[in-house]
């Protein structure tokens, strides 16, 4: 999964500097606590009200390589918008705008 990387955290440069002394790993290695970026629903953040089946550019990020719908757990989409997204994707699939599966 390519898309996962950006969410998984990877520490990001933005961690709070506060606790630097405290986290000495057992092996003496400096370890940061796993910092996860807070996931935000894209549609809430960008104030997109209309999730339309015709708008492939909007939907494509939510159907990664295998063409399955990206779960909420990964994308961070809120329940309301995930539901709308699902219907939109299913309609787009019917019209062959978005694939059902990867070949």
């Amino acid at each position: 999964m390519n898309g996962r990387k950006s969410f998984g955290g990877g520490g990001g440069g933005r961690g709070r500097g506060g606790a630097q002394g405290a986290q000495q790993g057992k092996d003496g290695q400096q370890r940061r606590p796993m910092f996860r970026r807070r996931k935000v629903c894209k549609f809430c953040a960008d104030k997109i009200d209309d999730i339309n089946y015709k708008d492939t550019r909007l939907l494509m990020p939510f159907v990664p390589e295998r063409a399955k719908i990206l779960p909420r757990r990964i994308s961070g989409t809120c329940a309301l918008h995930q539901r709308k997204l699902r219907t939109a994707i299913m309609r787009a699939r019917q019209l062959a705008l978005i694939p059902y599966t990867a070949e």
Binding site: D49, P61, L95, P99
Partner: protein
């Protein structure tokens, strides 16, 4: 009772332009006969299909926004099903969803206006206001399962 529907149909790539327009006039004819009207027609032209339908890899997409009754849409649906030239079609009712969208949008601007007035600002955002680099800030990587995934 008249409602608003969207109809998208995919015409086989073998069809000529005349056949596509003829199909459109057919749909229009049915709509007029049954007390409906066509508000908008959009031809998206020839597009690649995301998967093969039958033996086709391409298709011509046509979108029609139709104002009419459910009976009318049923008839159009039936007619398109038996038309061999149309390889796929979809009818969606849009008026209800659209009104929900308008309502949430209106509510949001209302709230922001009220807040701005409470802070002693003009109700609408002035040019040059807001955070710098806001209009197209692509450093925002809150959500970047971007196009590179595909």
């Amino acid at each position: 009772m008249n409602r608003k529907y969207e109809l998208v149909y995919v015409v086989s790539p073998d069809a000529t332009d005349e056949q596509v327009t003829e199909l459109h006039t057919q749909v229009e004819g049915i709509a007029q006969r049954m007390g409906g009207s066509i508000d908008k027609t959009e031809n998206w032209g020839r597009r690649r299909l995301a998967y093969e339908i039958g033996r086709h890899k391409e298709g011509t997409y046509v979108l029609e926004v139709i104002d009419g009754t459910g009976e009318l849409m049923k008839e159009i649906d039936r007619r398109l099903k038996v038309t061999d030239l149309v390889i796929r079609h979809l009818v969606v009712r849009v008026d209800e969803a659209q009104s929900v969208i308008d309502r949430t949008r209106g509510k949001r601007t209302d709230v922001s206006r009220r807040r701005r007035i409470a802070r002693g600002l003009p109700p609408d955002r002035q040019p040059g206001e807001g955070q710098r680099g806001e209009p197209d800030d692509d450093r925002d990587d809150r959500f970047d399962v971007g196009e590179d995934v595909r």
